[in-house]
């Protein structure tokens, strides 16, 4: 250990630039940790693949679409993309419980930056990781009868990013309440599984009983899944009958909810959940 030169005291200035640096560095940490853990990526892709090819082929035999190109697997494809980001993003959010357990949350929260900056970085990190990971599923688009359209892929990535931001924020809300690491994963399962089943990811929402209509249309995930399917199906050369069967419009009573409004609802949920997480963390930590 050598003698050390002393540098003078520099007190950092606050301000927006500093907040942005904090956001970026929290985001970067998520990416570094993701890259270090390839097992996590492989494990979290297994389930979506199972759903896409096993459930798709199995249930597909029951459902006659009347189309050469579009099958039930085609219908499932956007839903499975949504499903894959759902679990990764929820895990990214709930990982704050581990950060608390290992003390790193304290390092972040005592820093002279806002809790908003920290949690925004966390959400961006979770969204990036989830979106990048779902690209592995996009490779198999051809097997589901989905074309490899570059613009479609960009649109899908954008929508997945927005959706996983929302789910990471939801994970953070949960993490602010859950103090024990043992209860974190079961809680994610408890919340995420119904969100997925009630979102139209696995079955069309067009001919549901009343109670299910209400539940699915109050689920924010529904408004994240429907645009994904729209982006895929607008590029398929199929008859209106097949469109109506596999990609029915999202209706509020008689009103067909436009895609931009659906995306806006998801964006609103992103902001709302993030604000709630900030409030809860500021209060409890």
């Amino acid at each position: 250990m050598s003698a050390t030169e002393i540098s003078s005291v520099r007190v950092p200035r606050g301000g927006l630039g500093h907040e942005m640096r904090a956001v970026m560095t929290v985001w970067l940490r998520e990416l570094i940790r993701f890259r270090r853990d390839p097992a996590r990526m492989i494990a979290s892709l297994a389930q979506p693949f199972l759903f896409l090819f096993v459930l798709g082929a199995g249930l597909g035999s029951l459902i006659e679409t009347g189309s050469e190109t579009a099958s039930f697997t085609t219908f499932l494809f956007p839903g499975v993309l949504a499903m894959s980001v759902l679990f990764t993003a929820a895990f990214a959010g709930i990982s704050m419980v581990w950060d608390r357990e290992f003390g790193f949350l304290r390092e972040m929260l005592v820093a002279p930056v806002s809790t908003t900056a920290i949690l925004t970085g966390k959400c961006l990190g979770g969204a990036t990781v989830a979106t990048v990971q779902s690209m592995a599923i996009l490779i198999f688009a051809g097997f589901a009868g989905v074309p490899y359209d570059p613009l479609m892929i960009v649109e899908i990535m954008g929508l997945l990013f927005l959706m996983s931001f929302m789910i990471t924020a939801l994970g953070l809300v949960l993490a602010s309440r859950v103090k024990q690491v043992q209860s974190a994963m079961p809680l994610v399962q408890l919340i995420i599984t119904p969100l997925m089943f009630l979102s139209g990811a696995l079955f069309p929402l067009s001919r549901l009983p009343d109670w299910l209509y209400w539940v699915t249309h109050l689920n924010p995930m529904t408004y994240a899944v429907a645009p994904l399917r729209e982006v895929v199906f607008e590029r398929l050369a199929i008859t209106p009958e097949v469109q109506a069967l596999l990609n029915p419009p999202l209706l509020w009573g008689g009103f067909a909810v436009p895609v931009w409004l659906q995306a806006l609802i998801v964006a609103g949920c992103c902001a709302g959940l993030l604000a709630l997480a900030v409030l809860l963390f500021a209060r409890s930590e």
Partner: protein, 272 residues
């Protein structure tokens, strides 16, 4: 945690109403670990530097500086989870210093460290003290570390029971302890009583007396005792004595104590 009463200022900022300003001016090293084991040592420091808004131009140099100080520069690319407890502690201290804070809080910073690293860390703190306008606020159970400090506060049961410089605290406890071994300890004790009017005790197998000024007392001892002396030692009161005088119990007793435990901490304050 809301204040029960009063107000507190750190680096001139109110801790209740100017929290961000306070946090920009302080460095914290917690007792419990707050590192990310999945990041390398350098990545942990980079993360910290970004969160604290350290000037990017000098950041790499500063990281090298603090890593050198704790002897971890060679290991900077290794994941923190591969580090031993002592290495993690050293990295935390390096991180606390990274952004050159005005007030550095160290909560038992050297606990569980080897003597070499402890010495190196105190050297660095002393250098900081010499060249920068920085206050270092330390809590410790090591009395010899408290000795480094300009001011010491002794806490007992959540109250500050003494607050002064190490010298003044020791002087307040009072007398020096003189211990001697002689050819005939009984005769020596009797002579101390008759010649000097001092009550001597046998302690550690030696005749032990308390006098206000030990060094000046020794020549008189040789002159007037009349019993052959084999060795003499003079002890100034240590901070241990100071602590015992104020807290009235040893730390070990405090930890074992029944009923209401005695909490003893020593936050000495260094300042210019």
């Amino acid at each position: 945690m809301p204040a029960s009463s009063g107000t507190a200022y750190v680096a001139g900022f109110n801790v209740a109403t100017e929290r961000d300003a306070v946090r920009r001016h302080i460095g914290l090293v917690f007792q419990e670990p707050t590192l990310d084991g999945y990041l390398s040592a350098e990545q942990n420091l980079k993360f910290h530097g970004e969160l604290y808004g350290v000037d990017r131009a000098g950041a790499a140099e500063r990281r090298k500086q603090v890593l050198d100080m704790v002897g971890l520069y060679e290991r900077r690319h290794d994941l923190v989870q591969t580090f031993s407890g002592g290495m993690r502690r050293r990295l935390e201290i390096a991180r606390g210093l990274l952004h050159s804070p005005r007030v550095l809080f160290l909560d038992e910073p050297t606990i569980g460290l080897d003597p070499q690293t402890r010495a190196s860390i105190w050297d660095y703190i002393a250098q900081l003290h010499e060249t920068e306008d920085i206050t270092v606020f330390v809590t410790t159970h090591y009395m010899d570390e408290a000795e480094h400090c300009d001011r010491i506060a002794i806490m007992n049961e959540g109250q500050i029971v003494a607050l002064d410089t190490p010298e003044a605290l020791k002087a307040a406890v009072g007398k020096d302890r003189v211990q001697l071994s002689t050819d005939d300890d009984q005769a020596a004790m009797a002579a101390l009583k008759s010649e000097f009017g001092l009550e001597a005790q046998m302690r550690d197998g030696q005749v032990t007396i308390s006098v206000p000024e030990g060094a000046g007392f020794v020549p008189q001892l040789f002159e007037r005792l009349g019993v052959p002396i084999r060795s003499v030692s003079v002890h100034r009161p240590s901070l241990d004595d100071v602590f015992l005088a104020h807290a009235g119990t040893t730390l070990r007793d405090a930890e074992r104590g029944k009923g209401r435990p005695v909490h003893a901490g020593f936050p000495p304050i260094r300042r210019r």
